[in-house]
Symmetry: C2
Subunit: 376 residues, 2 copies
């Protein structure tokens, strides 16, 4: 209604502010210059970026002109978290969850730096972020399956036989987006099908039903930080750890059982990004092989997790889960004992940086230690 | 490899037989001439049809030339089932389940007579039957969600994080197809959104996860009769009953809990048919209103059903379910006591007509009492 954005002498323009502009951070883990942002400029530029630099902290990461960002390297993480920095992975994109922790916003979108703008079947560029926001702002339906998919979408509704008492849905905590071109395959499948590309655009968003686990990929993922952020821990991966490429999976399994327990929704489907390059399958095999073996026990574990009724916050659920991990997965490998401890450390660090009252530590975080917020 | 289909003097042609030609019946409930079959001729003509004529048995139903069919009217049903005919609904498309019972084939496809051939986004006619067959012949994945949908489809696979031990899947019992144009809405939604049309072609088939119920529509439905047929009972609807338009829903809820118990899969999604005309929302409201009210209790009932381990056949599961219906839903309305009894009668009739050895009754069924199998 304000004409503030209209120039003098022109017809006043009703300003169209990008949705959630001041309530969402884009978190990007990287080891290289962020040239991929050029392609995303029309969609990302209004938002604040949190860049988590992995690997050698002395390296300078170039961010294209005009983006508003803060950047953290390993030195920053160590300085801010002190001994608790041990829960943040090094030399693995799992380090991105540090960005979730230091954000002060309600929503997070995280994307890998080898993901480009995809086109919809009509040839139009897909604004992945806008679609995620739409998914996060509309309810989920985890208690009953709607055969016409998202009932809140334009042109769709609940079908005959869908109980009316369930049509309000539940708040959406997670929006999991997909990938055209290079699919998110494990190393064995990459090796067997090196040329397979995902070309199928499935025009649907759907709620993953309560009680059902799914493989959550961190490449193109949005979530409500207030609702589930404290469980979005990407685990211990990479340097010094016996496993990699299970960071997002771990977070997904933890988040899903907690969302199910707390009555929150998890969606998957649209939006697509264009995944440009497959990681090396031989390297991936080395990172994954223990996970491929362990997941045969991890999945039944998560399928059988029952959280006590008095776990009414994400933090309490997560601490309870860490105990169960120690007890049930600890016997598989000492790694899970270490992981269970790191889960506790993560919650301690999260609570330190995210207390409602401003503590000296959390105040320190709001300064961008290594990045100069650029002017738009 | 046989050249039997090649004419003399011509290059021998390798015959391409339509899939499952001798193993699948198409069941159509109707009260009118089956002119809609003209449009389906290229896809349905090789298959055998079972037509269940509802309403006035003295009326003659015209079937287009060239289709191979048998037709049953109410007199036939009464004659074949005797007193057990009470379990088959009258003046409601629920009567179609009589066709499932008298079929001798392994697979059933059932379709409403106001459903036409839909077009895919490229403008090509969709062979709904062929797509259902493909879904029925490939496994389902009810124990873990695959984010790229059907992993057995060309160009797709299981994604990273999907346990390898689960990649064999389970046998598929049900393939639930969807509808373009008129969506399958209940009367209240029809009244509120009279002009809404489904134009979104979602290019996906997915398994409905274990433990999740869905609203199964009987308009465009295929199933493996050997695996789940005895539970595909469409209940007591229509004439003399307090409820209508919950026949397929009832069958879907029963089938889903039994499939979950027996480790069978239920898929939904492709194929689409073109649903040409909406039924009258005022009439539907009269048929539905008790169902809309009752389903608020029915759904929690089915969500909490736990079948005993010794129920290892569909029949035993179904009889157990009938006991639970009597016990748990009976208090809501005497209708459920009647329905529970009809469920038992249905199983008795099913077993009579479907014993491995040929009984006089089941032999009688294989004659088409009112239809002349036409020559192709």
């Amino acid at each position: 209604m304000s004409a503030a954005h209209g120039r003098q002498g022109e017809v006043p323009v009703v300003p169209v502010s990008p949705p959630l502009k001041d309530e969402l951070d884009i978190v990007i883990p990287t080891i290289r210059n962020l040239d991929f942002l050029e392609m995303w400029r029309p969609f990302f530029q209004p938002y604040h970026l949190i860049i988590v630099q992995d690997g050698d902290p002395s390296k300078t990461i170039r961010v294209p002109e005009g983006f508003d960002y803060e950047l953290y390297n390993r030195n920053d993480i160590n300085r801010i978290l002190g001994p608790k920095a041990s829960c943040i992975s090094f030399k693995d994109s799992a380090c991105r969850c540090f960005g979730y922790m230091v954000s002060k916003k309600k929503y997070i979108y995280t994307i890998d730096d080898d993901c480009f703008v995809a086109k919809d079947p009509s040839g139009k560029d897909i604004n992945a972020l806008a679609q995620h926001i739409q998914s996060l702002l509309s309810p989920s339906t985890p208690h009953f399956f709607n055969t016409l998919y998202d009932p809140y979408r334009e042109g769709a509704d609940f079908v005959r036989g869908y109980p009316f008492s369930m049509r309000e849905g539940v708040p959406t905590a997670v929006s999991h987006g997909l990938w055209l071109n290079i699919p998110d395959y494990d190393a064995p499948t990459q090796l067997v099908k090196p040329l397979e590309r995902n070309t199928r655009y499935v025009d649907a968003v759907l709620t993953i039903p309560k009680g059902t686990l799914f493989p959550m990929c961190g490449m193109n993922l949005a979530f409500n930080r207030d609702l589930i952020g404290a469980a979005m821990y990407f685990g211990l991966m990479g340097d010094g750890q016996p496993i990699g490429r299970y960071d997002d999976m771990w977070a997904g399994w933890c988040c899903k059982v907690i969302c199910d327990h707390l009555g929150l929704g998890v969606k998957t489907g649209l939006p697509y990004i264009f995944h440009s390059k497959a990681s090396n399958p031989f390297v991936n095999l080395r990172k994954e092989y223990k996970g491929i073996y362990w997941q045969e026990d991890i999945i039944p574990f998560f399928q059988s997790v029952a959280l006590p009724k008095d776990c009414t916050t994400v933090q309490r659920c997560y601490l309870e889960l860490s105990k169960l991990v120690k007890e049930k997965l600890g016997p598989i490998d000492p790694y899970f004992l270490k992981l269970a401890e790191a889960m506790v450390t993560w919650i301690e660090a999260w609570d330190e940086l995210n207390t409602p009252k401003s503590s000296p530590e959390s105040a320190a975080v709001s300064k961008a230690p290594n990045g100069t917020p650029a002017k738009k």
